[in-house]
């Protein structure tokens, strides 16, 4: 087994570090035990396209669709210009032509999501949850850019796409059915005619640690709050489709606690959730989540 150390400059500072270093060397060496390097290389060379491009085949398709939209939009934009505008004037600055691309690990320029807008200024974020217009003021934070989806209620710090891991993020749904068993959700959907029923069934829902109901407010409306969390190490592989679901397509992700606010608004059951990655969330973030929930406005 070859020496995996790169730079021999750093030496352990104490006996404990030396023990950890010995353990890490041994642990790293185990990777080659069951599979040889050539086998791993071969597995990468033959990896399905969705595995090489990303984690989720749905994301790959979403990226393909987005790329097509961008290409069509660019073609339309260029068709609207005069021929002279398509010609880039040559630069007189020799450094422009000679300089190499910057050495950076920044990802290729991200395609802007036309459905996702950065939130700035005094204008509150407004989007529909079903037929209910829900608004919240732009979160006053210096810890990151908040973005909001235009065609549905989704407010996230860092992204509008839950698959890219914004934290925290808020979403919402008008709910008429709940899964009695969040693990075996395909066969356990039950009707919840009222918000009271929805909160009661969520409190009894199985597949995760029981949630305790607390009476609170969602903006000016009375609501029931339930907090659900499962450890990041929990295995949900045996659940339907390898997912825990609370209602509809709302997933409960290990390591991502969710605060659920259930309110009855004009005869319908509105659920707003606040979700955050547990290991990355500070007390200040939780305070900010509380402030955002308290500031929710619903137009009826």
């Amino acid at each position: 087994m070859s020496d995996h150390r790169v730079v021999p400059a750093s030496m352990p500072n104490d006996a404990f570090e030396a023990r950890v270093a010995r353990y890490l060397d041994w642990e790293a060496a185990q990777l080659g035990g069951a599979r040889t390097g050539d086998e791993i290389a071969a597995s990468i060379a033959t990896r399905p396209i969705e595995r090489r491009w990303g984690r989720n085949p749905m994301l790959v398709w979403a990226a393909v669709v987005m790329a097509l939209i961008v290409v069509v939009a660019a073609a339309i934009a260029m068709a609207g210009r005069g021929p002279n505008q398509l010609v880039t004037a040559p630069s007189n600055d020799p450094s422009v032509a000679l300089s190499a691309p910057p050495l950076t690990d920044a990802p290729p320029t991200a395609t802007p999501d036309p459905n996702c807008s950065p939130l700035e200024g005094e204008i509150p974020y407004l989007a529909n949850v079903g037929t209910l217009p829900v608004s919240v003021p732009v979160p006053a934070t210096s810890s990151g850019q908040w973005l909001g989806a235009r065609d549905h209620f989704f407010l996230g710090r860092g992204s509008c796409d839950p698959a890219s891991g914004p934290s925290p993020f808020f979403d919402g749904a008008l709910v008429a059915h709940i899964y009695a068993d969040s693990c075996h959700w395909k066969s356990s959907e039950i009707e919840v005619p009222t918000a009271f029923d929805a909160a009661e069934e969520l409190a009894k829902q199985t597949g995760h640690p029981k949630a305790t109901s607390v009476e609170t407010h969602l903006g000016p409306f009375r609501a029931t709050r339930l907090d659900i969390a499962i450890p990041a190490t929990a295995s949900i592989a045996t659940c339907d489709d390898g997912q825990l679901r609370l209602w509809g397509d709302k997933q409960l992700v290990p390591g991502v606690p969710v605060q659920i606010y259930v309110a009855e608004i004009d005869g319908t059951t509105l659920i707003i959730t606040a979700n955050y990655i547990e290991t990355e969330t500070t007390p200040a973030d939780l305070e900010e989540i509380d402030a955002i929930i308290a500031s929710v406005r619903i137009e009826i």
């Binding site: 070859s2 995996h4 150390r5 790169v6 730079v7 021999p8 400059a9 750093s10 352990p12 104490d14 404990f16 570090e17 023990r19 950890v20 270093a21 353990y23 890490l24 060397d25 041994w26 642990e27 790293a28 060496a29 990777l31 080659g32 599979r35 040889t36 390097g37 050539d38 791993i40 290389a41 071969a42 597995s43 990468i44 060379a45 990896r47 595995r51 090489r52 984690r55 989720n56 190499a100 691309p101 050495l103 690990d105 839950p162 698959a163 890219s164 891991g165 990041a232 190490t233 295995s235 592989a237 992700v253 290990p254 390591g255 991502v256 990655i277 290991t279 990355e280």
Partner: protein, 185 residues
């Protein structure tokens, strides 16, 4: 252990039909030489093989695309390490990105009926504790104690202030000591 097939595969990915240049050959040699090291480094952070392989693949793909600007290995090696480590951290901390949760990397081994060797028991506990560290703490520990980078070099790779890296290392060590039932520093 080298993996020239990976380099070949990456070259195919780049759709390169041009004749191999000295830079191409240098990067190919780098990939062949360092693939296993990078895979092991990523694996210590991700704690599962498929994610580690993806992190390394992405790092090497970026290296291949930018090979024209990476003329000497002194620049290439820390640059590729940085890309791979950051990708591994990203995968380790984003539950949405994980399709596979490798439980065996986060728990100890089952104790056999006849009892476990004390040394093995300690490593079993250490293994479980290391797997439960946050990904950014695993990364700094792996870079500093396994890959041998200094604290300053580690800070550069994970793009964090030196003091932050010192804090992460200290917290990780305290947590590992705590799980091993030892007094903290």
């Amino acid at each position: 252990m080298s993996n020239p097939r990976v380099a070949t595969d990456l070259r195919d990915d780049a759709r390169s039909s041009a004749p191999s240049t000295p830079v191409d050959r240098a990067v190919e040699a780098f990939i062949a030489e360092h693939y296993d090291r990078l895979l092991r480094l990523a694996w210590l952070i991700c704690r599962n093989g498929p994610d580690a392989a993806d992190a390394v693949q992405r790092g090497l793909e970026q290296a291949w695309r930018k090979r024209a600007t990476l003329r000497d290995e002194a620049r290439l090696r820390p640059w590729v390490d940085r890309v791979v480590v950051r990708e591994a951290i990203r995968m380790g901390r984003r539950p949405w990105l994980r399709r596979v949760l490798s439980l065996d990397s986060q728990v100890g081994w089952l104790e056999p009926a006849g009892g476990m060797d004390p040394g093995l028991r300690e490593w079993s506990t250490l293994r479980a504790a290391f797997g439960r560290l946050p990904a950014d703490q695993r990364a700094v520990i792996a870079l500093h104690l396994h890959a041998g980078y200094s604290v300053a070099e580690t800070a550069s790779i994970v793009d964090a202030p030196v003091e932050t890296v010192r804090t992460r290392i200290r917290r990780a060590k305290d947590r590992l000591r705590s799980e091993l039932g030892e007094a903290q520093s």
